[in-house]
Amino acid sequence: MIRQFSASQTLAHLVLLIGAVVVLLPFYVMVATSFKSPSEIMTATGGAFGAQAPVVSRSCLARGGTDADCATLPVVENYREAFAKAPLWRYMLNGVAVTVSIFLLQVLVALPAAYALAKLRFWGRNAAFALVMFCLLIPVHAIALPLYVLLARLGLTDSYAALVLPWTVSAFGIFLMRQFFLTVPDDLVDAARMDGMGEFAIVWRVMLPAAIPALLAFAIFSVVAHWNDYFWPRVVITGNRDLFTPPLGLREFKGDLDGNFYGPMMATATVIVTPLVVAFLLAQRRFVDGIAMAGMK
């Protein structure tokens, strides 16, 4: 503890570095591939980021360009193709809209529920909490069909509502927030009552601001899950491509048999993964704190 030999530090770094290499390998493959020309991908040449020898754009040829017109750098071609093949911006925008609305609705529903479970005494509270714990176990894949039929009966398939509504209640969010609220002193709630706030006002004016760190942790879980979700959008969005979320955009490249769009496909993957990584990097420190504070230990 006191006199740490730098040898042990070095060893720790070594082990962690090897781990980091394994962890980062797929990311490296993804980014590297998105920089390469098809032939470099096929032959696994080109080093880390491809030789960037000009290639001829196939889609440009298809539109009737000549070889000379259509020569571009592989990286440009891949990313241009990624955005040309599918309206990626639109999909990303959808992704943002969907994840943000899901998160906001989840907070809207979970926060009062968690407050009730943590701070209010009422008959059946334990049963209510048990119900939340049970719901925590239900994966959407298992109930997708009944849920789909439900939405279909309401005429809500192929709509933003279909992407958002099923997620409005997050058992995990309720659980997490409840754990956090347990650590908020009861006195604070009583003080708010003395100050003239009703229970509803307490939730939004006292508990919400106090819960920001835990909410941040939850936000990351929620946003990650729904930004990346491929299964549910695929089930409910059958008609309108304008409602696609980023993973569905990625799927456009993942036909049953082609392996030939690897460059653009990896470019798309890179584009989709990047926002989350950036968001995480920004929120990283408070995220770990938030988890710790939410008593998830």
């Binding site: 002193p185 006195d187 604070l188 009583d190 003080a191 708010a192 009552r193 003395m194 100050d195 003239g196 706030m197 006002a201 006292v206 601001p209 106090a210 920001i212």
Partner: protein, 379 residues
Amino acid sequence: MATLALRGLSKSFGTTQILKQVDLSVADGEFLSLVGPSGCGKSTLLRIVAGLESADEGSVEIGGVPAGHLRAADRDLAMVFQSYALYPHLTVAGNIAVPLRMRRLTAAQRLPLLGPVLPGARSRGREIEARVRAVADMLDIAHLLDRRPGQLSGGQRQRVALGRAMVREPAAFLLDEPLSNLDAKMRLQTRTEIAALNRRLGTTFLYVTHDQIEAMTMSDRIAVMMDGEILQLGTPEELYDRPADIRVARFIGSPAINILPAETDASGHVLLCGHDTGMRAAAGGRIAHLGLRPEALAPAPHGPVAGRVRAVENLGSDIYVQIGVLGAESPVTVRCAPTVSPRPRIGETLFAAPVGRMIAFDAAGKAVPLVRAEVAAHV
């Protein structure tokens, strides 16, 4: 400004009765402390007065008006909590302003962005701001108004909590151990301030603590509570000098009172450790214990109290000598002046004699008034 009256309050949690038919009246402007050991129900009582909890039986009157049907926010009481319970996300100014904002602004005017531009909100907002500043000036925290609670010391938070309570000029203050999270120095300083505040504002204070020194130094009257009952209600002097119950005697005073075994001899004289004290019970009851405060004992060549010195604590201003006395439950403490000579030393035998008031208790622990034996004989 109002009186508080509790009549026959009872409260149980599950099967355990926490409050047992408690009666208590607090006069207008009075500073009344409620003291008692941990878990005796002080906070519960306070919370019932505040309206945060309801009694199973009994009633609460505020300013002579039954308050049972009023919710906490409508009782016009302010409460200060042990943990201060400040809103961590609001600045000091924001914290102090909350009670006013909740009361003086309409729901619409409180809205985040829209609110301030609504008619009337401006002027109300300015009023509130002025009031907050005035309170902050009074508590000497005006320079902290823009900080958040996390950036304040314990004492400063304490004052902010007081400020939040004061800002709306409530009928009475309820304080639940507001000093217990402060360190010794801070506690000393703040308790004077709170007492001064009571005098300055003239508002009724109901103050809960388990620290009897706090209660002694601040209160007009003290109610000692144990096991859900109020054992005695009186001025600090009364409690110190004339405790009605041995439990009260034990609770009040630091270092604690010395309880020594006593008897009543055939002639009705009270014997302390077998020595005649020259006193007898006024009403002639049997006496089981005598209570002697440390300052009511002094070393004397052949005093009735004798034992080996266990410890000598020199506080500079006083010396407390603890002696192990046969028959006493715990070591007997004797207060000496720092100039005492010879200075008692650990291990030697010390004799002490009563030099101050003796308090007698019967076997049930009830106080029994004593009178000089001769005087009584004359009567």
